[in-house]
């Protein structure tokens, strides 16, 4: 992998910034160059929040990405805003718990995950962000899933440590969802 990047977008409070941070840490632990660039604005709930994470073998020139290679969307406004901007042949991970519309990008690999539902089964609906991250990591191969799991452990410490198992379970469920899609895509290509 020379370099890759992903735009993660959703409502504020849906945990995209955190998922991005965990991904950046995981890539950094693997010895890669990273940047994490959030959208920022007045602290207001309900607004949209997004973050761009770049991962590369060489120092990152511009952290500002206008045509991301991958997109992770938690809500409809983000899908409508960013799906048209994804690079040709890119990857789009969609949270179907809240987004019922198709990205309308025939050229892209689209991974659909009912993130809230999957997270609920894993222990907490609040970990939908890590389900999405798992799907992205599996479908893109940007980092090893184990690296992310270690960083989830590092992220939730002290009083928050009790959230580790549910978040890791959610992440793994996401990895499975992403991997299924990748395998089907590979089979379709073989056929």
């Amino acid at each position: 992998m020379e370099s890759t990047n992903v735009l993660m977008a959703g409502f504020g409070g849906q945990g995209m910034l955190l998922a991005g941070k965990v991904l950046a840490h995981a890539a950094m632990a693997e010895g890669k160059e990273v940047s994490w660039l959030p959208s920022y604005g007045p602290e207001m709930r309900g607004g949209t929040a997004n973050v761009t994470v770049c991962v590369a073998a060489r120092p990152i020139a511009s952290p500002l990405i206008t045509t991301p290679q991958a997109l992770m969307v938690m809500n409809l406004p983000s899908l409508e805003k960013f799906a048209p901007k994804v690079m040709e042949g890119g990857l789009i991970v969609v949270n179907t718990s809240l987004v019922h519309r198709d990205p309308k990008r025939e050229d892209c690999t689209v991974v659909k995950v009912d993130a809230r539902h999957v997270a609920g089964l894993a222990g907490t609906e609040r970990a939908a962000n890590f389900v999405m991250l798992g799907a992205y990591v599996a479908a893109s191969g940007v980092v090893a899933p184990e690296s992310v799991e270690r960083e989830i452990e590092n992220e939730f410490t002290g009083r928050k440590a009790k959230h580790v198992p549910a978040n890791i379970a959610a992440f793994r469920a996401g990895v499975d969802a992403g991997r299924d899609v990748q395998e089907t895509a590979a089979q379709e290509q073989d056929a």
Partner: protein, 354 residues
Amino acid sequence: MTKVLMKGNEALGEAAIRAGCVHFFGYPITPQTEVPEYLVKRLPEVGGTFVQAESEIASINMIYGAAGTGVKCLTSSSSPGISLMAEGLSYIAACELPCVLINIMRAGPGLGGILPAQSDYHQATRGHGHGDYQLIVLAPASVQEAVDLMTLAFELSETYRNPVMVCADGMIGQMMEPVEFPTEGRGEPMADNDWALTGSEGRERRIVNSLYLSPEDLDAHNRKLKAKYDLIAEKEVRHELYGETESPDLLLVAFGTMARICKSAIDDLQAGGAKVALFRPITLKPWPYAACREAMDLLPADAPVLNVEMSMGQLIDDVRLAGEGSRRVEFLGAAGGVVPTPEQVAAKIRELLP
């Protein structure tokens, strides 16, 4: 030393402590608020002082007071807040007090917006308060460089007894990147000196003042300041040359975040054989005129220079001064928090290449 992933604003705060600064005075403003939010937690751990001022006017005058007693001190703000510091900066520079201030620029004028911009370039390099004084202005292009320049800022401010501004845009303040700090723990305090107000017991009393009733004395004071600025200009200019540095067909000039975006454009075009260089001033004041002129002289006779900035034509003044009329200087810019993309820069380069 290990790398840590840190937000630019937090890294700037930590770098100040590593440089020996444990006195912070500031007022919240987006997109720099993480500087005070970080330091309010961190300073008590190193025996430091944190004061949330009632305004930036107060912050800069608290700095005047702290710097006047010979301690390393820091304030931090963003564009509208820096405007309010204009008067204080003039006094501090007049009194030759060392201090560091951070400007995490956002888009103006007026209340403008909170997104990244470089539109305080003139303010930083020429503007702010009244009178014949200069700041030293350092412009990082990454979180790591922000840390490195913070360290330098405290050194320069002490050496030259002058306020130093670290001038970055909102993107560098908000972005997380891996950083390595040059030193561990809290750095050294300011060395003893013969000007700080510490209580006059056992010595002649000292006065921190900028009032000169005699015009001859004020003239002499200004000449002394001028000599200092000339010395700084001679010794402290810094820049980077990137890309095709042997015989480029086009030279870009940009600083901070914009320079990084230009680098992406250059990297993308290099594959196609385009020979493009980037000149990046790291010190915005003093400006590296001679080095920039040398870079321009690498170009073929009639090749243009492309000035790229996140403002409407401010940096370009210095690029023209460097060229002294020898070059056509083209302009690409954007304002309001709109950041020119690598693709837009590349398109403009293609348009200009022979």
